[in-house]
Symmetry: C2
Subunit: 128 residues, 2 copies
DNA sequence: TGATTACTTGCGAATCATTTGCAAAAATAC
DNA sequence: GTATTTTTGCAAATGATTCGCAAGTAATCA
């Protein structure tokens, strides 16, 4: 575990929400280069120390977001208004995924699920 | 509905699987430019005539895939080996999404879910 | 029908997240 | 310490997607 990788991992584990590579790079600015951040994120994901998913946000476009793997695998809601993530808790679709595997003979190695819309605060801020 | 848009829509509705913008552009090659294809896809999605999601495939990277909206909203499995999609049928997580809305006060306007791994054929082709 | 206005297209250049080549730096092996 | 392997910084390349702008079509009006 090199200094750069440790810094990236610590940033991820210290964050309450998923972070984009750009966000991580900003957080470790001065410590390591953006290419190093991308390489470190790949490394951490390979080692099972981080998880990622690709999210599309209408305003900010498509980006990959990373989460430290210190907590169990989970899913997220993304607010398209304030751009915060809300933790949906531990994965609740494991059973459904297994059903698909059985029904269709698939070997599922990875699943992606996320919701987007308006969080409670942003929804309250507009029409009730 | 212009000629270009009609060609793109017909391509989507005629396809058994989600198509990338590049795939659509190849299918309508000669008929219209790639920029026009992208614009037509946006137009169709705005009009509710197509749906899309962003998928990450280890080998081919991140791309947006489109489906004609002639069938009800559904989800897909993507085989990382043969790169085909398998239809998982009509959405089965509507209830779960509503639960999250209630529990957390969210207003969910869109959800993304897909599985990836090996399809039955590709799984059989390797270790049983 | 011809002129006016509004929307769509093609082409090429620009964007933006992400990746890569390469030489220097750091870590590990001998 | 010296040789060997791995990691890093920097700058340039990549690839999907978007944009500017002039030309092409369609719709509207006199
Ligand atoms: Mn956002
Ligand atoms: Mn694929
Ligand atoms: Zn919000
Ligand atoms: Zn397959």
């Amino acid at each position: 575990m090199t200094r750069a990788r440790a810094a990236v991992l610590e940033t991820l584990n210290g964050s309450r929400e998923p972070m984009s590579a750009g966000g991580v790079a900003a957080a470790v600015a001065g410590c390591c280069d953006q290419a190093t951040v991308y390489r470190a994120l790949h490394y951490l994901e390979d080692e099972g120390l981080a998880e990622s998913f690709v999210l599309h946000c209408a305003e900010r476009g498509v980006e990959r977001f990373y989460v430290g793997a210190n907590a169990p695998h989970r899913h997220w809601f993304h607010c398209e208004s304030c751009h915060r993530f809300i933790d949906l808790g531990a994965c609740r679709i494991g059973g459904l995924v297994s059903e698909f595997e059985r029904e269709l003979g698939l070997r599922v190695s990875r699943h992606t699920m996320y919701l987007s819309g308006k969080c409670r605060d942003c929804a309250a801020r507009t029409v009730p």
